[in-house]
């Protein structure tokens, strides 16, 4: 018998964290904040360089563009953190060690992010349909379609 407990793995936590709005909409907010920063910074430059706007208006435009730049960089860092760290959590043991005594290790730890997502979807699918077995092969097709 081998040991396969997806819920006890770091990659499962990453699969769950992916649904958090902070990560789910990171890409959207990244683009939005970049566009807003560029727009406000260009308006600021238009007003500041030939002195088209008052000093107070220029200050506010610069403030807004600074805030949007900070938001853009934060969203970018968050995205990088999720993609580079959370999605790529490595198991502490190597496969060559595990293969000697597979029952002593949780094999789910060796799943990649996409594979863990597919297994989670399969578990959820089987639970929804009240099936006694988990149809792992069902999920990748659904996953691909999605």
């Amino acid at each position: 018998m081998f040991n396969f407990e997806l819920k006890k793995t770091a990659i499962y936590r990453a699969v769950k964290w992916e649904k958090w709005p902070i990560f789910k909409f990171a890409k959207f907010f990244e683009k939005l904040f970049l566009i807003l920063f560029v727009i406000f910074f260009l308006i600021f430059l238009y007003g500041f360089v030939p002195e088209n706007f008052s000093q107070a208006a220029s200050k506010k435009l610069l403030g807004l563009s600074t805030i949007f730049l900070v938001c853009y960089l934060s969203a970018r860092i968050k995205g990088a953190f999720f993609n580079l760290k959370l999605k790529n959590s490595k198991p502490e043991t190597t496969l060559s060690e595990v293969i000697l005594n597979p029952e002593d290790y949780n094999l789910a730890e060796f799943l990649s992010f996409e594979a863990a997502k597919a297994v989670k979807q399969a578990i959820d699918f089987s639970r929804r349909r009240k099936l006694s077995k988990v149809y792992i092969f069902q999920s990748p097709f659904e996953f691909k379609r999605n």
């Binding site: 964290w17 200050k59 506010k60 610069l62 403030g63 807004l64 563009s65 600074t66 805030i67 730049l69 900070v70 960089l73 934060s74 860092i77 953190f81 580079l84 760290k85 959370l86």
Partner: protein, 125 residues
């Protein structure tokens, strides 16, 4: 481990480690690209191996000419090699500076973001 702690470790340990690795790779690549170690080892070797052989020991006139030619070949070699060594070292310094900016910039980024946010809000109100 909490996600916040993981983020801190990633920000201040994992990524800086990768930046240092990449920085070192760029430095090693540049040294090899300009062949700096090889050029230093062969710094006073004759240019393109252009050398005359010395004649008999008492053929002083010919031997003196050969000596002058060989010395010139070595001098030209040294001048041209030093040209490439200097370019290689200048690019190396540039990589050190850019790497330091990126490395320190990454470490300071969270504080710069907080400072930027406060600065932006202060400008607004």
């Amino acid at each position: 481990m909490s996600i916040f702690l993981q983020a801190l470790i990633w920000q201040f340990f994992d990524v800086p480690k990768e930046i240092l690795k990449a920085w070192r790779n760029f430095l090693v690549f540049n040294l090899n690209y300009f062949s700096v170690p090889t050029l230093l080892k062969t710094f006073i070797s004759p240019w393109r191996k252009y050398v005359y052989r010395y004649g008999k020991i008492f053929d002083i006139k010919n031997n003196f000419g050969t000596f002058i030619f060989n010395m010139m070949s070595r001098t030209i070699g040294a001048i041209l090699r030093s040209f490439f060594i200097i370019i290689g070292l200048l690019v190396e310094v540039l990589i050190i500076l850019i790497g330091a900016i990126i490395f320190l910039g990454w470490l300071a980024l969270p504080f710069l973001l907080i400072f930027g946010l406060i600065f932006g809000i202060k400008l607004l109100f």
